[in-house]
Subunit: 168 residues, 2 copies
Protein backbone atom coordinates (compact mmCIF):
# COMPACT_ATOMS: atom_id res chain seq x y z
CA UNK A 1 0.00 0.00 0.00
CA UNK A 2 1.37 3.42 0.93
CA UNK A 3 4.20 3.19 3.40
CA UNK A 4 5.16 6.86 3.06
CA UNK A 5 4.89 8.63 6.42
CA UNK A 6 6.09 12.00 5.23
CA UNK A 7 3.24 13.16 3.00
CA UNK A 8 4.15 16.24 0.95
CA UNK A 9 3.11 19.60 2.39
CA UNK A 10 1.32 22.15 0.23
CA UNK A 11 4.70 23.85 -0.21
CA UNK A 12 6.38 20.67 -1.39
CA UNK A 13 3.55 20.03 -3.81
CA UNK A 14 3.83 23.56 -5.19
CA UNK A 15 7.56 23.18 -5.59
CA UNK A 16 7.07 19.98 -7.56
CA UNK A 17 4.29 21.65 -9.56
CA UNK A 18 6.78 24.28 -10.71
CA UNK A 19 8.96 21.63 -12.31
CA UNK A 20 6.00 19.47 -13.38
CA UNK A 21 3.14 21.76 -14.46
CA UNK A 22 0.83 18.75 -15.02
CA UNK A 23 0.47 18.38 -11.25
CA UNK A 24 -3.10 18.72 -9.93
CA UNK A 25 -2.32 19.56 -6.33
CA UNK A 26 -5.69 18.82 -4.72
CA UNK A 27 -5.92 15.54 -6.67
CA UNK A 28 -2.51 14.45 -5.38
CA UNK A 29 -3.47 15.45 -1.88
CA UNK A 30 -6.76 13.54 -1.92
CA UNK A 31 -5.12 10.50 -3.49
CA UNK A 32 -2.29 10.33 -0.98
CA UNK A 33 -4.54 10.83 2.03
CA UNK A 34 -6.84 8.10 0.80
CA UNK A 35 -3.98 5.64 0.36
CA UNK A 36 -2.49 6.68 3.69
CA UNK A 37 -5.66 6.07 5.68
CA UNK A 38 -6.37 2.79 3.93
CA UNK A 39 -2.87 1.61 4.77
CA UNK A 40 -3.32 2.59 8.40
CA UNK A 41 -6.65 0.75 8.47
CA UNK A 42 -5.12 -2.35 6.92
CA UNK A 43 -2.27 -2.36 9.41
CA UNK A 44 -4.74 -1.85 12.27
CA UNK A 45 -6.86 -4.75 11.02
CA UNK A 46 -3.79 -6.98 10.91
CA UNK A 47 -2.93 -5.91 14.45
CA UNK A 48 -6.39 -7.00 15.57
CA UNK A 49 -6.25 -10.28 13.63
CA UNK A 50 -2.75 -11.14 14.76
CA UNK A 51 -3.98 -11.25 18.35
CA UNK A 52 -5.94 -14.29 17.18
CA UNK A 53 -3.11 -15.91 15.21
CA UNK A 54 -4.40 -14.73 11.84
CA UNK A 55 -3.57 -12.18 9.15
CA UNK A 56 -5.86 -10.93 6.40
CA UNK A 57 -5.02 -13.63 3.85
CA UNK A 58 -5.85 -16.57 6.12
CA UNK A 59 -8.78 -14.78 7.76
CA UNK A 60 -10.53 -14.22 4.42
CA UNK A 61 -10.16 -17.89 3.56
CA UNK A 62 -11.95 -18.85 6.78
CA UNK A 63 -14.70 -16.30 6.10
CA UNK A 64 -15.14 -17.46 2.50
CA UNK A 65 -15.53 -21.05 3.74
CA UNK A 66 -18.02 -20.00 6.42
CA UNK A 67 -20.12 -18.33 3.71
CA UNK A 68 -20.53 -21.70 1.99
CA UNK A 69 -23.56 -23.85 2.78
CA UNK A 70 -21.40 -26.93 3.50
CA UNK A 71 -18.36 -24.96 4.76
CA UNK A 72 -16.45 -26.32 1.76
CA UNK A 73 -14.85 -24.95 -1.39
CA UNK A 74 -11.91 -25.60 -3.74
CA UNK A 75 -8.51 -23.91 -3.82
CA UNK A 76 -9.19 -22.42 -7.24
CA UNK A 77 -12.59 -20.98 -6.26
CA UNK A 78 -11.09 -19.59 -3.05
CA UNK A 79 -8.21 -18.04 -4.98
CA UNK A 80 -10.61 -16.29 -7.38
CA UNK A 81 -12.80 -14.98 -4.57
CA UNK A 82 -9.90 -13.93 -2.38
CA UNK A 83 -8.17 -12.20 -5.29
CA UNK A 84 -4.88 -14.09 -4.99
CA UNK A 85 -3.22 -16.59 -7.31
CA UNK A 86 -3.68 -20.30 -6.91
CA UNK A 87 -0.05 -20.59 -5.87
CA UNK A 88 -0.64 -18.13 -3.05
CA UNK A 89 -3.83 -19.95 -2.04
CA UNK A 90 -1.89 -23.22 -1.82
CA UNK A 91 0.39 -21.55 0.72
CA UNK A 92 -2.48 -20.06 2.73
CA UNK A 93 -4.27 -23.41 2.88
CA UNK A 94 -0.99 -25.07 3.91
CA UNK A 95 -0.76 -22.72 6.87
CA UNK A 96 -4.41 -23.08 7.87
CA UNK A 97 -4.23 -26.85 7.59
CA UNK A 98 -1.06 -26.88 9.72
CA UNK A 99 -3.02 -24.96 12.39
CA UNK A 100 -5.97 -27.35 12.07
CA UNK A 101 -8.39 -24.61 10.98
CA UNK A 102 -9.21 -26.22 7.62
CA UNK A 103 -8.80 -29.69 6.14
CA UNK A 104 -8.14 -30.93 2.60
CA UNK A 105 -10.43 -33.66 1.25
CA UNK A 106 -9.90 -35.58 -1.99
CA UNK A 107 -12.61 -35.40 -4.64
CA UNK A 108 -13.43 -38.86 -5.95
CA UNK A 109 -15.21 -37.58 -9.07
CA UNK A 110 -12.42 -35.34 -10.37
CA UNK A 111 -9.10 -36.57 -9.10
CA UNK A 112 -7.40 -33.29 -10.03
CA UNK A 113 -9.55 -31.49 -7.54
CA UNK A 114 -9.33 -30.97 -3.78
CA UNK A 115 -11.98 -29.81 -1.34
CA UNK A 116 -11.11 -27.46 1.49
CA UNK A 117 -13.37 -27.58 4.52
CA UNK A 118 -13.62 -25.36 7.58
CA UNK A 119 -13.00 -27.51 10.66
CA UNK A 120 -14.73 -27.12 14.02
CA UNK A 121 -11.56 -25.45 15.26
CA UNK A 122 -11.72 -23.06 12.31
CA UNK A 123 -15.33 -22.14 13.03
CA UNK A 124 -14.51 -21.67 16.67
CA UNK A 125 -11.58 -19.40 15.79
CA UNK A 126 -13.94 -17.25 13.70
CA UNK A 127 -16.38 -17.15 16.59
CA UNK A 128 -13.75 -15.43 18.70
CA UNK A 129 -12.27 -13.23 15.94
CA UNK A 130 -15.43 -11.87 14.34
CA UNK A 131 -17.08 -10.28 17.40
CA UNK A 132 -13.77 -8.60 18.25
CA UNK A 133 -13.38 -7.34 14.65
CA UNK A 134 -16.99 -6.13 14.41
CA UNK A 135 -16.84 -4.32 17.71
CA UNK A 136 -13.61 -2.52 16.90
CA UNK A 137 -14.78 -1.60 13.42
CA UNK A 138 -18.03 -0.22 14.81
CA UNK A 139 -16.07 1.94 17.24
CA UNK A 140 -13.70 3.05 14.50
CA UNK A 141 -16.56 4.22 12.28
CA UNK A 142 -18.62 5.75 15.09
CA UNK A 143 -17.74 9.28 13.93
CA UNK A 144 -19.63 8.81 10.64
CA UNK A 145 -23.41 8.96 10.45
CA UNK A 146 -25.35 7.13 7.73
CA UNK A 147 -25.28 10.18 5.44
CA UNK A 148 -21.47 10.38 5.71
CA UNK A 149 -21.20 6.69 4.91
CA UNK A 150 -23.39 7.08 1.84
CA UNK A 151 -21.44 10.15 0.69
CA UNK A 152 -18.19 8.21 1.11
CA UNK A 153 -19.53 5.43 -1.10
CA UNK A 154 -20.43 7.96 -3.81
CA UNK A 155 -17.02 9.60 -3.76
CA UNK A 156 -15.23 6.26 -3.82
CA UNK A 157 -17.31 5.19 -6.80
CA UNK A 158 -16.39 8.40 -8.65
CA UNK A 159 -12.69 7.75 -8.10
CA UNK A 160 -13.12 4.10 -8.97
CA UNK A 161 -14.55 4.93 -12.35
CA UNK A 162 -11.51 7.09 -13.08
CA UNK A 163 -8.98 4.42 -12.19
CA UNK A 164 -8.59 3.21 -15.75
CA UNK A 165 -6.62 6.42 -16.41
CA UNK A 166 -3.69 4.60 -14.84
CA UNK A 167 -4.03 1.53 -17.02
CA UNK A 168 -4.40 3.22 -20.41
Amino acid sequence: MLQLRDLPTKETLKKFAQRYPQADISAVSAFLHLLRLATDLSVALDTCLSRHGLLQGRWWVLILLMREENLTSTPSALADKAGVTRATMTGLIDGLERDGLVERLLDSRDRRSVSVKLTAAGQSRLDTVMPDYYRRLHDCMAGLNEVDRERLHEILNLIGSGIEAFNR
Copy 2:
Protein backbone atom coordinates in the same frame (compact mmCIF):
# COMPACT_ATOMS: atom_id res chain seq x y z
CA MET B 1 -4.10 -4.11 1.22
CA LEU B 2 -7.38 -5.84 0.53
CA GLN B 3 -7.00 -8.65 -1.96
CA LEU B 4 -10.59 -9.87 -1.52
CA ARG B 5 -12.51 -9.62 -4.81
CA ASP B 6 -15.75 -11.09 -3.53
CA LEU B 7 -17.01 -8.37 -1.18
CA PRO B 8 -19.93 -9.52 0.95
CA THR B 9 -23.40 -8.68 -0.35
CA LYS B 10 -26.00 -7.12 1.94
CA GLU B 11 -27.44 -10.62 2.36
CA THR B 12 -24.12 -12.12 3.38
CA LEU B 13 -23.56 -9.30 5.86
CA LYS B 14 -27.02 -9.86 7.35
CA LYS B 15 -26.39 -13.58 7.61
CA PHE B 16 -23.15 -12.92 9.50
CA ALA B 17 -24.92 -10.31 11.64
CA GLN B 18 -27.34 -12.99 12.82
CA ARG B 19 -24.49 -15.04 14.23
CA TYR B 20 -22.50 -11.98 15.33
CA PRO B 21 -24.91 -9.30 16.56
CA GLN B 22 -22.06 -6.81 17.09
CA ALA B 23 -21.85 -6.32 13.32
CA ASP B 24 -22.47 -2.76 12.10
CA ILE B 25 -23.37 -3.47 8.51
CA SER B 26 -22.93 -0.02 7.00
CA ALA B 27 -19.60 0.37 8.83
CA VAL B 28 -18.33 -2.91 7.39
CA SER B 29 -19.52 -1.93 3.95
CA ALA B 30 -17.83 1.49 4.03
CA PHE B 31 -14.64 -0.01 5.45
CA LEU B 32 -14.36 -2.74 2.83
CA HIS B 33 -15.14 -0.43 -0.07
CA LEU B 34 -12.52 2.01 1.15
CA LEU B 35 -9.85 -0.69 1.40
CA ARG B 36 -10.92 -2.15 -1.93
CA LEU B 37 -10.60 1.13 -3.82
CA ALA B 38 -7.30 2.01 -2.18
CA THR B 39 -5.91 -1.38 -3.17
CA ASP B 40 -7.05 -0.88 -6.75
CA LEU B 41 -5.44 2.57 -6.77
CA SER B 42 -2.20 1.20 -5.36
CA VAL B 43 -2.08 -1.57 -7.96
CA ALA B 44 -2.85 0.96 -10.70
CA LEU B 45 -0.07 3.23 -9.47
CA ASP B 46 2.37 0.33 -9.54
CA THR B 47 1.26 -0.49 -13.07
CA CYS B 48 2.09 3.08 -14.09
CA LEU B 49 5.43 3.10 -12.25
CA SER B 50 6.49 -0.30 -13.54
CA ARG B 51 6.41 1.08 -17.09
CA HIS B 52 9.34 3.19 -15.92
CA GLY B 53 11.21 0.42 -14.11
CA LEU B 54 10.05 1.49 -10.64
CA LEU B 55 7.63 0.40 -7.94
CA GLN B 56 6.32 2.49 -5.06
CA GLY B 57 9.14 1.73 -2.62
CA ARG B 58 11.95 2.85 -4.93
CA TRP B 59 9.92 5.71 -6.42
CA TRP B 60 9.34 7.28 -3.00
CA VAL B 61 13.06 7.15 -2.25
CA LEU B 62 13.79 9.11 -5.41
CA ILE B 63 11.08 11.67 -4.56
CA LEU B 64 12.32 12.04 -0.99
CA LEU B 65 15.83 12.71 -2.31
CA MET B 66 14.55 15.22 -4.84
CA ARG B 67 12.83 17.11 -2.01
CA GLU B 68 16.20 17.70 -0.36
CA GLU B 69 18.13 20.88 -1.11
CA ASN B 70 21.32 18.97 -1.99
CA LEU B 71 19.51 15.85 -3.32
CA THR B 72 21.09 13.92 -0.44
CA SER B 73 19.92 12.10 2.69
CA THR B 74 20.82 9.13 4.90
CA PRO B 75 19.35 5.62 4.90
CA SER B 76 17.90 6.09 8.38
CA ALA B 77 16.23 9.41 7.57
CA LEU B 78 14.85 7.94 4.36
CA ALA B 79 13.55 4.89 6.24
CA ASP B 80 11.72 7.08 8.74
CA LYS B 81 10.20 9.30 6.06
CA ALA B 82 9.27 6.40 3.81
CA GLY B 83 7.76 4.45 6.70
CA VAL B 84 9.85 1.31 6.24
CA THR B 85 12.51 -0.25 8.44
CA ARG B 86 16.19 0.49 7.93
CA ALA B 87 16.66 -3.07 6.76
CA THR B 88 14.11 -2.56 4.01
CA MET B 89 15.68 0.77 3.07
CA THR B 90 19.07 -0.93 2.70
CA GLY B 91 17.49 -3.22 0.11
CA LEU B 92 15.73 -0.40 -1.75
CA ILE B 93 18.95 1.62 -1.93
CA ASP B 94 20.81 -1.49 -3.12
CA GLY B 95 18.40 -1.77 -6.04
CA LEU B 96 18.47 1.92 -6.90
CA GLU B 97 22.26 1.98 -6.73
CA ARG B 98 22.45 -1.08 -8.98
CA ASP B 99 20.32 0.82 -11.52
CA GLY B 100 22.50 3.92 -11.15
CA LEU B 101 19.64 6.11 -9.90
CA VAL B 102 21.29 6.92 -6.55
CA GLU B 103 24.83 6.69 -5.19
CA ARG B 104 26.21 5.96 -1.73
CA LEU B 105 28.79 8.40 -0.37
CA LEU B 106 30.84 7.88 2.79
CA ASP B 107 30.56 10.46 5.54
CA SER B 108 34.01 11.51 6.73
CA ARG B 109 32.73 13.07 9.97
CA ASP B 110 30.75 10.05 11.21
CA ARG B 111 32.14 6.86 9.77
CA ARG B 112 29.02 4.89 10.75
CA SER B 113 27.00 7.04 8.41
CA VAL B 114 26.36 6.91 4.68
CA SER B 115 24.96 9.57 2.37
CA VAL B 116 22.57 8.64 -0.41
CA LYS B 117 22.45 11.03 -3.35
CA LEU B 118 20.14 11.23 -6.34
CA THR B 119 22.23 10.88 -9.51
CA ALA B 120 21.64 12.70 -12.77
CA ALA B 121 20.16 9.46 -14.09
CA GLY B 122 17.84 9.35 -11.07
CA GLN B 123 16.67 12.93 -11.62
CA SER B 124 16.15 12.21 -15.28
CA ARG B 125 14.11 9.11 -14.44
CA LEU B 126 11.87 11.24 -12.22
CA ASP B 127 11.52 13.76 -15.02
CA THR B 128 9.92 11.10 -17.17
CA VAL B 129 7.90 9.39 -14.42
CA MET B 130 6.38 12.38 -12.67
CA PRO B 131 4.60 14.03 -15.62
CA ASP B 132 3.11 10.65 -16.53
CA TYR B 133 2.00 10.06 -12.93
CA TYR B 134 0.56 13.55 -12.50
CA ARG B 135 -1.36 13.42 -15.78
CA ARG B 136 -2.90 10.02 -15.02
CA LEU B 137 -3.79 11.02 -11.48
CA HIS B 138 -5.42 14.22 -12.71
CA ASP B 139 -7.52 12.20 -15.16
CA CYS B 140 -8.38 9.65 -12.46
CA MET B 141 -9.67 12.36 -10.12
CA ALA B 142 -11.42 14.39 -12.82
CA GLY B 143 -14.84 13.24 -11.57
CA LEU B 144 -14.40 15.04 -8.23
CA ASN B 145 -14.78 18.80 -7.90
CA GLU B 146 -13.01 20.77 -5.18
CA VAL B 147 -15.96 20.42 -2.81
CA ASP B 148 -15.92 16.62 -3.20
CA ARG B 149 -12.20 16.58 -2.52
CA GLU B 150 -12.64 18.64 0.63
CA ARG B 151 -15.53 16.44 1.80
CA LEU B 152 -13.40 13.36 1.22
CA HIS B 153 -10.63 14.81 3.38
CA GLU B 154 -13.12 15.45 6.20
CA ILE B 155 -14.53 11.93 6.08
CA LEU B 156 -11.06 10.38 5.97
CA ASN B 157 -10.05 12.43 8.99
CA LEU B 158 -13.12 11.25 10.90
CA ILE B 159 -12.25 7.62 10.21
CA GLY B 160 -8.61 8.26 10.97
CA SER B 161 -9.40 9.53 14.42
CA GLY B 162 -11.34 6.32 15.12
CA ILE B 163 -8.53 4.02 14.06
CA GLU B 164 -7.17 3.60 17.57
CA ALA B 165 -10.22 1.41 18.27
CA PHE B 166 -8.25 -1.34 16.54
CA ASN B 167 -5.14 -0.85 18.62
CA ARG B 168 -6.73 -0.71 22.06
